[in-house]
Amino acid sequence: MTSIAEGIEINDQTVTAAVELAGEKLNSAQGETMLDFSFVRRIDASTLRALEELARLADEKEVKVTLKGVCVDVYKVLKLVRLSRRFSFVS
């Protein structure tokens, strides 16, 4: 498993950019990749859009995307917009 946002600290401010970057790097990912959300406390509509696009690209390229350390508040947002089923989660 590769960490595709390596070197970027993903937090509330950088999360959208990191997810977009992850989408761009999906080509080089092999089979499975991970994004560390441990420092993300809140996401907004732009992040949701980026995540939706990431999920779409991941499906296209048959890459499994795992979100690590997602807090329950963010998890609930993903659940409400039915995005949670398109990712894997690890703590």
Binding site: R42, D44, A45, L48, R49, D73, K76, L78, L80, V81
Partner: protein, 899 residues
């Protein structure tokens, strides 16, 4: 505050239901789906917001609403051509300022209310995406109101304004959205449907991601909302009756009605429609109206209005009149009125289709009715209320509280406004303490789910966090208990004019009654009522009560076994409360504290009940129970209430020294069963446990001695104490399934109660100690502890064992050995009951055992099949029963499950 217009338009709208979303183009559907998707994302993002985040957004929105109040009012009047610009400014300001004043300190995020005394907390959960219809009559104020509510509650809203008020509404939505976004609200939180159509509405109402429909609109929209299968808030049509009662302040009433009915040209659906005026003040009221600018129509003018402002075909108001000035309406229909006329008043003679002006009129035309009495006035108001205004609003002007209350009782309206204007009064927070709103719930009368003024709490799912409560328990026993040899001497301290001793013949014969006579207060007249030595019957009770009445007794001494003491308890009940219906009082119950029937508290007379037991088993001297046999109807009646508990118990062993061996054994095992069942009962407490344990130890030690050596004073005394102490335990913790089985079996085969208990006891302990098929719900216990409690009993009795299972098995063996020692039959079969006879009896036995209330406190809920199995085990006999404690249960330590 939408006027739910019952106009021709509305009728047409109604005809189109169900709306057909299939006529939408693919592009339109994609557009609508995108609106919902945005709103859904916004609502999801919004769930992360704190209360502070939300409040930071609400305030500037409200400020923007206030700043733009005039701009939006002007737009609304220009576009809709309805109402009065100045009044719409006020509406916009109320929708902003008054609503803010109500919501500003309210918690709408996280825990919103706590009830520590009930261990309850309420937590807010946003609803998600709301689809909101807004009306033509109050377009911008409704948008401002709903936006504030939505942000305060973290919801996203898709607005669908009335097509003829779209521009002003979309402007209001835009102002609210931009302000909210500027202060941190999620992107897409408000959207406004472009060029809304009925199929759009139908599609969105059924959209899977729309969580709630908030339909402030006409009856058609409301009905469509409720028909969509989605949760919905909606208002219904109004037709506000007003009762102007003769005690009212006429000046205040007339001014208030004019204010209300002319406000925004009468477009508020809560505004007054028909004023019913008492005959005594009718002329004065009309004069006051005329003085203040109303035009009172003559009969001819009234006919003209009926034909013009009401559609003769539908009976509803004509749209052309809605929201227009009185002077314009008059001019339009050809009435000649003064230039400053505010209001047209038309006298009517009744309500209904033949009286066209009795319907809702959202313009400044008011009908009036002259009533000859309060009763007639109320009836006419009811008629108006039922002619299209159910659940909405009603108004009364009166100083007579009784009339006001009666009006409130007979009128079905969510808002009953007293001595203030209907329209502004119903809005709330201006003339009264109603919650401010722009959406009136009309209850089931108006096809709504609420009669509330719709507010923030209707925009929330409110979750209840219900923590386990520590229910109050009790330990109730007689005030005074005297025990040990010659305790009967204490009788002398109880002064009495007349004492009745209730007893039975054998006890009188052996001199027990004389002992009692010698010890009662010297000045007391003593009379003896001798009853049969059997469970008391109805007629025995009646004879006893007759004696009590005849002698006007103030003290009853029950001297005897359980039956005699039970009889005395019931005699006392009937003596003090002759109206008490024993059958009613014996009605079934699950929890004594929540029982439906109430025992009489009013007493026509009072008598002290002193119980002196002459057996050591039932413990009736301290219990709140009494059993009565109703031979005529062939049944037993069990009474249970703490008011039945004797006032004084005298536990004097001299009265049990001569008990025969069989009775000693039977009653002794009854005592032991009481202790064991109370010990594992779901109602057990530290108080009852201490009694159960003590009684168990005493009974185990002294019952065999008292049985072998009946004259052993210590053994008799201790068994007598054990019986009383065990009874204190089960009086407060109740018994269990052993008693239920024994009651059914004993009654069917005529076997003594103690003996019947003995036959069941080892099997019941084994049953209760094993893993229940069905746990008994009980707020009083934590986890399943019966097995560990049995193990604790074994430890206290020094029975040994290294595990819970061993200890329980040892307890069962020790009880079996005791039963053997006392000469009890080992099985039901040993009683000479054939297997065939027993098999035939089983269905009735199982049914009666299951009907018996005793098992309701048993730690394990007995299934019918298990009851049958227990009977068969008792039939087969003891020696087989052993603990079958599951490993997980057995692993619990005694410390963990400490008593």
């Amino acid at each position: 505050m939408e006027a739910a217009m019952a106009t021709k338009e509305a009728v047409q709208e109604r005809i189109q239901i169900p709306l057909n979303p299939e006529s939408l183009s693919a592009e339109r559907i994609a557009y609508l789906d995108d609106l919902v998707r945005q709103a859904k994302a916004a609502a999801a993002v919004f769930t992360q917001f704190t209360q502070a985040d939300v409040d930071r957004i609400v305030k500037p929105m409200v400020m923007a609403g206030l700043e733009q109040a005039q701009h939006l009012a002007r737009l609304a009047v220009e576009e809709t051509r309805l109402g009065v610009m100045e009044d719409k400014v006020i509406k916009n300001m109320v929708a902003s300022e008054f609503v803010y004043n109500y919501v500003k300190d309210k918690r709408t995020v996280g825990v919103i209310r706590e009830y520590p005394e009930r261990n309850l907390a309420e937590i807010a959960e946003p609803i998600g995406v709301l689809f909101s219809l807004t009306p033509i009559t109050n377009p911008t104020s409704t948008v401002l109101f709903k936006c504030t509510m939505a942000i305060k509650t973290r919801n996203a809203v898709i607005f669908s304004p009335h097509p003829k008020a779209w521009r002003c509404c979309s402007e209001a939505v835009k102002i609210m959205y931009e302000t909210a976004r500027k202060h941190g609200a999620p992107e897409g939180v408000f959207t406004c449907l472009e060029s809304p159509t009925l199929p759009d509405n139908a599609y969105l109402m059924k959209h899977k991601d729309v969580a709630l429909i908030d339909a402030t609109g006409g009856p058609g929209a409301v009905k469509a909302a409720y028909s969509s299968g989605k949760p919905a808030l909606g208002v219904g049509p109004g037709n506000t009756p007003v009762y102007l009662e003769k005690s009212a302040d006429i000046n205040t009433a007339v001014v208030d009605i004019i204010i209300s009915k002319t406000f925004d040209n009468g477009t508020i659906c809560a505004s007054e429609q028909t004023v019913v005026i008492d005959d005594e003040i009718y002329d004065a009221v009309l004069k006051k109206f005329a003085d203040l600018g109303a035009h009172i129509c003559n009969e001819k003018e009234t006919r003209v209005l009926e034909r013009t402002v009401i559609d003769p075909e539908t009976g509803f108001m004509q749209p052309m009149a809605v929201g227009q000035k009185a002077i314009d309406i008059a001019r339009f229909v050809g009435l000649s009125v003064k230039a400053n006329t505010k209001l047209l008043i038309a006298p009517i003679q009744g309500v209904g289709r033949e009286h066209p002006l009795s319907v809702e009129k959202l313009f400044p035309v008011l009908s009036v009715y002259r009533a000859k009495s309060v009763n007639e006035a109320l009836k006419v108001c009811v008629d108006v209320n039922h002619s299209g205004g159910l659940g909405h609003t009603a108004v009364i002007f009166s100083r007579n509280d009784e009339v006001i209350r009666k009006f409130g009782e007979v009128i079905n309206a969510g808002r009953i406004i007293v001595n203030s204007p209907g329209s502004i009064g119903a809005l709330g927070a201006v003339y009264n303490d109603l919650v401010p709103t722009f959406s009136f719930g009309c209850g089931t009368g108006g096809g709504n789910s609420t009669t509330d003024n719709v507010n923030i709490y209707h925009y929330l799912n409110i979750k209840r966090l219900a923590r386990r409560t520590q229910n109050h328990m009790w330990f109730r026993v007689p005030n005074q208990i005297y025990f040990n040899m010659n305790a009967v001497e204490n009788l002398g301290q109880f002064t009495s004019t007349c004492t009745i001793i209730v007893t039975n013949a054998p006890l009188e014969r052996i001199g027990h009654v004389d002992i009692v006579r010698r010890n009662v207060c010297p000045k007391t007249h003593v009379h003896v009522v001798v009853i049969p030595d059997a469970e008391p019957e109805v007629k025995v009770i009646a004879q006893g009560v007759e004696a009590l009445n005849f002698y006007k007794a103030d003290q009853i001494i029950a001297l005897g076994g359980g039956s005699v003491i039970d009889a005395a308890k019931i005699m006392k009940l009937k003596y003090e409360s002759p109206e008490a219906d024993l059958e009613y009082l014996a009605a079934p119950f699950l929890d004594l504290r929540k029982r439906v029937v109430e025992y009489p508290t009013e007493k026509s007379t009072r008598a002290r009940l002193i119980a002196i037991p002459t057996t050591s088993g039932t413990g009736s001297e301290v219990t709140p129970f009494a059993v009565l046999t109703d031979k005529e109807n062939g049944r037993k009646v069990t009474l249970a209430d703490y008011s039945l508990t004797p006032d004084v118990a005298i536990v004097d062993p001299q009265f049990v020294m001569s008990m025969p061996k069989g009775l000693t054994a039977d009653t002794g095992i009854d005592c032991l069963t009481h202790a064991l069942e109370a010990g594992v009962s779901n109602y057990a407490s530290p108080y009852t446990d201490s009694c159960a344990l003590q009684a168990l130890q005493l009974a185990f030690k002294y019952l065999p001695i008292a049985f072998e050596n009946p004259r052993d004073e210590e053994a008799r005394s201790m068994m007598h104490n054990a019986s009383c102490i065990a009874a204190m335990a089960f009086s407060n913790a109740s018994v269990g399934v052993n008693h239920a089985l024994a009651h059914a079996f004993g009654a069917r085969f005529g076997v003594a109660h103690g003996r019947a208990n003995a036959l069941m006891l080892p099997h019941v302990i084994s049953y209760n100690a094993s893993v229940p098929t069905k746990f008994m719900p009980s707020p009083y216990t934590q986890g399943y502890v019966a097995h560990t409690k049995y193990a604790t009993f074994a430890d206290l009795l020094g029975l040994g064992g290294n595990s819970v299972e061993e200890k329980v098995t040892n307890l069962i063996r020790a009880i079996e050995q005791l039963l053997d020692k006392l000469g009890f039959p080992k099985s039901i079969a040993e009683l000479g009951i054939s297997k065939e006879e027993f098999e035939r009896a089983i269905p009735e036995l199982a049914k009666n055992a299951f009907d018996d209330p005793s098992w309701r406190s048993n730690p394990r809920m007995p299934l019918m099949t298990e009851v049958v199995e227990l009977f068969w085990q008792a039939y087969a006999g003891r020696g087989q029963a052993k603990a079958k404690v599951a490993p997980s249960l057995a692993a619990s330590t005694l410390e963990e499950q400490a008593l």
